[in-house]
Amino acid sequence: MMRQFPANPDLTVEEFELNMGPQHPSTHGVLRLVLTMDGERVVRCKPVVGYLHRSIEKMAENRTYTQVIPVTDRLDYCTSMTSNYVYVMAVEDLADITVPPRAEYIRVIMSELNRIASHLLWYGTFALEVGATTPFIYGFRDREKVLDLFESTCGARLLYNYLRIGGVSRDLPEDFCERMLAFLDEWEPLIREYEDLLDENPIFYNRTKKVGFLSAEKALAYGVSGPNLRASGMARDVRREHPYAVYPELEFDVPVRTEGDVFARYRIRMEELRQSARILRQCAEKLPGGPYLEPQPLRMVLPEGETYVHLESPRGDIGCYLVSQGTDKPYRCKFRTPSFCHIAVFQHLVRDCLIPDIMAICASFDVVLPETDR
């Protein structure tokens, strides 16, 4: 395709198409970006998704309500806990089940720990995308410690299948809170270390500041949520707006920045790490005794009806739209996933950027492809 320079009509440049992905080191899985390039400058970008489509929604229609839980693990392998959570919350909402307070606290502990694990993974890969190798190892090293906590709780390190309808599958191990607090004491000062690796570096500033600017209006129109929306100046957090579980009893701040660029998205997540630690400390203090599960029949039958619940996952606003027709299987189970919206934003954001900017922008949105494709 030929394009003319407005300043010099005699000069034309030839654009070419560059297929970035589905196999590319930094598209985070199997995202494909069809880029129309003018040299190193992006003229147009079309994201292509669907390479990881496993028809989770179709699978859910053929399983009993309990059997769907392990499938939701596979929605987002970085934060299985919150994917579990949103599904069981939907079922509990339809069946009108009250969860014991201890289970509520355990769920919050798990989702906050998972937020830490997910943000640490994000921190590592994001730094890798802007070319810094060392933060990657730092992020993964500390994520391991969170995974150790998960392993001692539910036996799994990645796909937990821990939450149950009416509670959680098993109680916390006896010394869990001590170990978690020990981890937090050791780890919280390290957040400063993560920031030191990137923050003071002029190369990093140049790579991230004023790159990938997303205005609040565009963010809303594209359905962006979570840290990415908060980086664009909207103080929106489901934990605050529609508090679920025990969040109303907990004190925490919702970090907001107005720049809307890659750097803001990075800073927001760093702040969220601190807030998660704060929430976890309160939970450890307030954790009540009592049962951890309100047992439900194995093949439970839900009354006819439909519901939509959502909660704040590390990536943003994850929702579950559940339709029941009075049988033991969901009639329709739709997951509204944040990454789905975030990938669509790329086509808007990477226009007129350079190739390295694409990497920084893609990484800053923290997309997870299985969640997009479902």
Partner: protein, 388 residues
């Protein structure tokens, strides 16, 4: 090389006159062996240093188990030899749609450049049976520095060819980036090296070292051009990292952006040649830095005897060996610095790289040149003669 070699053979055989091609062949063999072994060691070292920076061990498993038990620094010694064997044994793939001539030429060219650049590098000197010290180099060229800079341009050519011939958009982008990057950084680099050239009044690397040993204003350590030409040293080091495509200037092969840049389509031995050349060039850069800014094989106020009497045995060529030890110690110190930079910095963006090179480094190198000219003039007027 030639005089030392001839002298050495004469001593050993009692007056045998070597044919004219023998020193060339011997030096070629030595340089080739050095490149291969040194690259292996550097790759291992890089992994260990990187591991240390990232709070992990690096390779620990290959090689005798007992070594790994002894210390972190002895574990995994066999990792790079194993990797080399793996690369040698891998299938050599030439994709169907590439331009075969260019595709096959590029790794040879890049390796040729990496090999040729060793010619004027002085690693030591000896005064064995001579009154004046003989510089040990393949050939201490009169125009050593200029030669080095000239040969590096060949690398651009090779990378450009590789990128273009691979018939892959990522490769082409990588090749183009490399071409632009190396071409632009060559200019501040040359200007940064001009400071020492002016101070020494010579382009020969051997001369540069000897002048540094003599000292500036009569003060020995001041003579290390790192001091009078500090800006030049900084600019040179930055440009050198950029020229060797090492992070944070590894735009041409930026893995996260261009998959593997110009070497995307290369496999097995052809890829190994790029890899080897890259590490070899890195070391060459450090050697040049040592020779030009760090006083080469000399230490201030230290003149090793030409032979060392150990009582039971007289070690000949001691000054040569001591010089080499000093030289490589310094060069490896610079290597460590480069590794430190590599593993802690994010990558630049190509346009920032250009801005940085043209708008910051180039003026800085001019300032450095000016300072050096003033210093050289002072030396000439008040301390008699050219510093050299």
């Amino acid at each position: 090389m030639e005089p030392i070699f001839e002298q050495f053979v004469r001593d050993l055989t009692g007056g045998f006159q070597v044919p004219f091609w023998a020193p060339m062949l011997v030096s070629l063999g030595l340089v080739l062996a050095f490149i291969a072994l040194n690259a292996m060691f550097m790759i291992w070292l890089e992994r260990k240093i990187c591991g240390r920076i990232q709070r992990r061990m690096g390779p620990m498993l290959t090689g005798p188990k007992a070594w790994a038990r002894f210390s972190m620094w002895t574990g995994g010694w066999f990792q790079t030899p194993c990797d080399s064997v793996k690369l040698l044994l891998k299938e050599d793939i030439i994709p169907a749609q590439v331009d075969r001539f260019g595709f096959m030429l590029a790794p040879v060219l890049v390796f040729m450049a990496a090999l040729a650049v060793y010619v004027p590098l002085p690693i030591s000197s000896t005064s064995y049976a001579q009154s004046a010290p003989i510089v040990v180099a393949v050939a201490d060229l009169d125009i050593g520095l200029l030669y080095v800079v000239a040969i590096t341009t060949l690398t651009i050519l090779a990378i450009l060819t590789a990128g273009w011939a691979s018939n892959n958009k990522y490769s082409l982008l990588g090749g183009m980036r490399a071409g632009v990057q190396i071409l632009s950084y060559e200019i501040p680099m040359l200007f940064a090296l001009m400071g020492p050239m002016v101070l020494a009044g010579s382009l020969s690397l051997g001369d540069l070292v000897l002048v540094q040993h003599a000292g500036l204003f009569g003060v020995p350590l001041l003579g290390w051009f790192l001091v009078p030409s500090f800006l030049g040293a900084v600019v040179y080091l930055i440009c050198a990292v950029a020229e060797t495509n090492r992070p944070p200037f590894d735009m041409p092969e930026a893995e996260q952006e261009l998959v593997a840049g110009f070497s995307t389509e290369y496999t097995a031995m052809r890829f190994a040649m790029f890899y080897l050349a890259e590490f070899s060039n890195t070391f060459v850069v450090c050697m040049i830095f040592t020779a030009v800014f760090l006083g080469g094989w000399t230490l201030p106020g230290f003149i090793p005897p030409s032979s060392l009497n150990l009582g039971f045995f007289t070690l000949p060529y001691f000054d040569l060996l001591a010089g080499m030890a000093i030289f490589f110690a310094k060069a490896y110190a610079v290597v460590l610095l480069l590794m430190w930079i590599r593993w802690t910095f994010p990558r630049l963006r190509p346009d920032h790289l250009m801005t940085f090179g043209w708008k910051f480094l180039l003026p800085l190198s001019f300032v450095n040149l000016l300072v050096c000219i003033v210093l050289a003039a002072i030396q000439q007027i008040y301390f008699g003669g050219n510093p050299g």
